[in-house]
C-alpha cells in the first residue's frame, strides 16, 4: 500500500477542497509570484507554500485563499521543531492547525530537524543527534502533530553540515523508523540527500535504496551552492538559489525508478527568479514523471555537469 497524499481522518467539507496533491510537478509559491500566479493561472499541477508565511490574517492569507481556489496547495512548515527535547510550542501548533483548517491543504509537511530550545527559536533547521533518545522525541512530537491536525504529515530529510559524535543511527534508518512508528509519510528531498551525501561522504543511492517506498509521499528538488572553505575543502550549501543541478536530476531519476511517480516540487528561496524559470524547471520534472526517464539533454550544455562528489572525507 502506498502512502496516500491528503488522506484525512474526516472527509473534506467540500469536494473541490482538500483534494490530494497529484503525482505531478509543482512549484514553491513565494510572495513575489502571488500576482503572476493569480493573473496568469500558469499550467502547473500544484503549489506549495511555507506555513509560517501565512499565519494570522490579512492580505497574504487572502491571496493564498484565492490561489487555493485554482490549485491544490501543500503546506510546508519550518517551525514546529519536531526534534526539540522541549515540548512543542503549543501556540505555534495551534496556528498551524488554524491554517490547515482554513486552507484544507492536500499535504502538510515538516522537517526532521530542531530549531527551538529554552523558548528560543534558532531560525534554522538544525541537525539532530541520531540517537534512540532523539528518535523517541521526534516520534512523540509527530504523534502529537498528527493528532492535533487529524491527518498524517510528511517529514522531510534535512540537508546537514555537521554530524555528532554520539549519533548511532544512520539518517535513512532514523527516518524510516519515524515513518514506521508514527504512520507519517516521508518527504524525500533529493537535493538534501545529495548535499548531505557529499558533505558527509555517504552513498546517496544507498540512502534512497534504504527508504520504504510505501512511505514516500513527495519529492523536493532544488539547487545548491558550493562553498570553498579555508584549507581547500568544499562544502555544499542547500541554498535553494539556482536551477536543479545535473547530479540531483540524475538522483531524482533513480528515485522515480525506485519509488514511482510522486508529487514533485521545485523549491527556490534565494535570488528568486521570474515565475517562468520555475515553470521551466517544473516542466523538466513533469516530463521525467510522465516518462519515468530523465531527459538530460537540456541540461548537458551547462558548466557544472561535472559535479563529482570527491571532497567528502
Amino acid at each position: 500500500m502506498t502512502f496516500q497524499a491528503g488522506v484525512r481522518a474526516a472527509p473534506p467539507s467540500a469536494p473541490t477542497l482538500g483534494s490530494p496533491i497529484p503525482p505531478r510537478a509543482g512549484i514553491g509559491l513565494r510572495f513575489q509570484h502571488h500576482r503572476d500566479v493569480l493573473e496568469r493561472r500558469p499550467d502547473v499541477a500544484w503549489l506549495e507554500v511555507h506555513t509560517e508565511n501565512y499565519m494570522g490574517g490579512g492580505s497574504p492569507l487572502a491571496h493564498l485563499e484565492a490561489v487555493r481556489r485554482n490549485y491544490p496547495v501543500s503546506l510546508h512548515g519550518v517551525g514546529l521543531s519536531l526534534g526539540s527535547a522541549d515540548d512543542l510550542d503549543a501556540a505555534h501548533l495551534a496556528r498551524v492547525r488554524e491554517l490547515v483548517l482554513r486552507i484544507e491543504p492536500g499535504l502538510v509537511s515538516e522537517h526532521l530537524a530542531w530549531s527551538v530550545t529554552g523558548e528560543t527559536y534558532l531560525a534554522d533547521l538544525l541537525p539532530l543527534p541520531l540517537t534512540e533518545e532523539a528518535l523517541d522525541v521526534v516520534c512523540h512530537h509527530v504523534d502529537r502533530v498528527q493528532a492535533s491536525l487529524r491527518r498524517p504529515i510528511l517529514v522531510e530529510n534535512p540537508s546537514t553540515y555537521l554530524r555528532y559524535r554520539h549519533s548511532t543511527i544512520p539518517e535513512w534508518e532514523f527516518l524510516t523508523a519515524v515513518a514506521a512508528r508514527t504512520g507519517c509519510g516521508i518527504l524525500c528531498d533529493v537535493n538534501n540527500i545529495y548535499v548531505s551525501a557529499c558533505n558527509h561522504g555517504f552513498d546517496a543511492s544507498a540512502y534512497l535504496a534504504a527508504l520504504p517506498a510505501a512511505a514516500i509521499g513527495e519529492f523536493h528538488l532544488a539547487g545548491h551552492a558550493r562553498r570553498e572553505l579555508p584549507g581547500g575543502r568544499t562544502i555544499l550549501i542547500d541554498d535553494h538559489g539556482s536551477r536543479v543541478g545535473p547530479a540531483v536530476w540524475a538522483l531524482y531519476a533513480e528515485a522515480l525508478a525506485r519509488f514511482g511517480p510522486r508529487p514533485t516540487l521545485i523549491e527556490w528561496d534565494t535570488d528568486i527568479p521570474p515565475l517562468d524559470v520555475l515553470l521551466d524547471e517544473a516542466a523538466l520534472a513533469a516530463r521525467a514523471l510522465a516518462t519515468g526517464a530523465l531527459e538530460c539533454d537540456a541540461r548537458t550544455g551547462r558548466d557544472d555537469v561535472a559535479e563529482p562528489c570527491t571532497f567528502a572525507a
Binding site: 509560517e52 508565511n53 494570522g56 490574517g57 527551538v116 540517537t131 533518545e133 559524535r165 554520539h166
Partner: protein
C-alpha cells in the same frame, strides 16, 4: 559540558549558546573530519543570524532605510543575541526592538529612530493580526436599543488589527516619507513638533496610520483596554471640545470594533457606582 554523551536537551542548549556566540563547548560533540567543527557551526550561525536579521528588516523597513543596510545589520546582530526570536512566527519578531534602540548608544543621535521602530512594530501587528468581522448594522441597532442607561456598562471588543501608538517625535511623517522615498518631505519634517497620537489599522491592501487628537486617542485606548464606555468617558472628562459620539461613529464606520458586551445585569440603578 563534559565529553560524556550529552542529553538531547543539554546538547540543544549548548547549540543555542554556540549560535548566540556565548561558547562553542558543543564543538566537542561534532565530528571533525577535515572541516573544523567551529567552521561547521559557523554555517548554522550565519543562517540563524541571517534569517533573524532579514525578519527584523522586513518588520522594520523604514528603520533599515534610515540607518542603511550595514549599520542595520550590525545593530540587528546586537539585538538578536540579546533578544533572540521566541517563536517561529517571524512576522512577530522584534517586540523589544524599539525599546532596545531607545537605549542603544550607537543610535543616540537619532532620537526619532526608536519611535519609527515603535510605529513599524504596530504596523506589523496590524498587518498580521487575525481576520475578524466588524460589528454589523443590526448589531449596532441592538446597541442603540440598550440606551439610555446601559452604555455606561458597555465594553467594546477592538478589532485585533487595531493598534494605538504614541510617539515623542513625528514618527508617522518620517515613516511615510522614508517608505515613499520622498526626500523633500523628509527634510521638511520638524523634529521638534512634539508628540503624536496615532491609530494604526488594516486597510484593503495594507495599513493606514491615522493621526488623532490626544483626548480621542486616550478615549480609544481606554475602550481597547476593555474599560467600559463610562470609564473611557471619565478618562477624558477634562478634555475640552471632545466629541465622543462623533468619534464612536467614526470607529464603527471604519470597522474598528468586532463586538460589545454589557458587563452588569440590566437595569443598572446607579451607573455611577462603577465609576469612583
Amino acid at each position: 559540558m563534559t565529553t560524556a554523551t550529552p542529553s538531547l536537551r543539554d546538547m540543544q542548549q549548548a547549540m543555542r549558546r554556540s549560535l548566540l556566540g556565548h561558547d562553542d563547548s558543543i564543538a566537542a560533540f561534532v565530528v571533525d573530519d577535515g572541516v573544523a567543527a567551529t567552521e561547521r557551526l559557523g554555517i548554522y550561525r550565519n543562517t540563524f543570524v541571517g534569517v533573524a536579521t532579514r525578519a527584523l528588516r522586513l518588520n522594520h523597513p523604514a528603520v533599515a532605510r534610515l540607518v542603511g543596510d550595514d549599520f542595520f545589520d550590525a545593530t540587528a546582530q546586537a539585538y538578536i543575541v540579546r533578544h533572540p526570536p521566541t517563536s517561529a512566527w517571524l512576522d512577530q519578531y522584534g517586540d523589544a526592538y524599539a525599546d532596545f534602540l531607545a537605549q542603544w548608544q550607537a543610535v543616540a543621535s537619532l532620537p526619532y529612530l526608536a519611535d519609527v521602530a515603535r510605529l513599524e512594530w504596530a504596523v506589523g501587528r496590524a498587518l498580521h493580526a487575525p481576520d475578524a468581522a466588524a460589528v454589523d448594522a443590526a448589531t449596532l441597532a441592538s446597541l442603540a436599543a440598550l440606551a439610555p442607561e446601559a452604555p455606561a456598562n458597555v465594553r467594546f471588543d477592538a478589532h485585533p488589527a487595531l493598534q494605538l501608538v504614541r510617539t515623542a517625535t513625528p514618527a508617522d511623517a518620517i515613516w511615510r516619507a522614508v517608505l515613499d522615498r520622498d526626500d523633500a518631505a523628509l527634510t521638511s519634517i520638524d523634529l521638534a513638533a512634539g508628540q503624536r497620537w496615532l491609530l494604526v489599522e488594516r486597510s484593503n491592501e495594507g495599513v493606514d496610520v491615522v493621526p488623532m487628537h490626544e483626548a480621542g486617542w486616550n478615549f480609544t485606548l481606554a475602550l481597547c483596554a476593555g474599560e467600559t464606555l463610562q470609564q473611557a468617558l471619565d478618562a477624558v472628562a477634562e478634555a475640552p471640545d471632545f466629541d465622543a459620539t462623533t468619534l464612536l461613529a467614526q470607529h464603527f464606520a471604519a470597522g474598528r470594533f468586532t463586538g460589545f458586551r454589557t458587563v452588569a445585569p440590566l437595569p443598572i440603578a446607579q451607573p455611577d457606582e462603577d465609576c469612583p
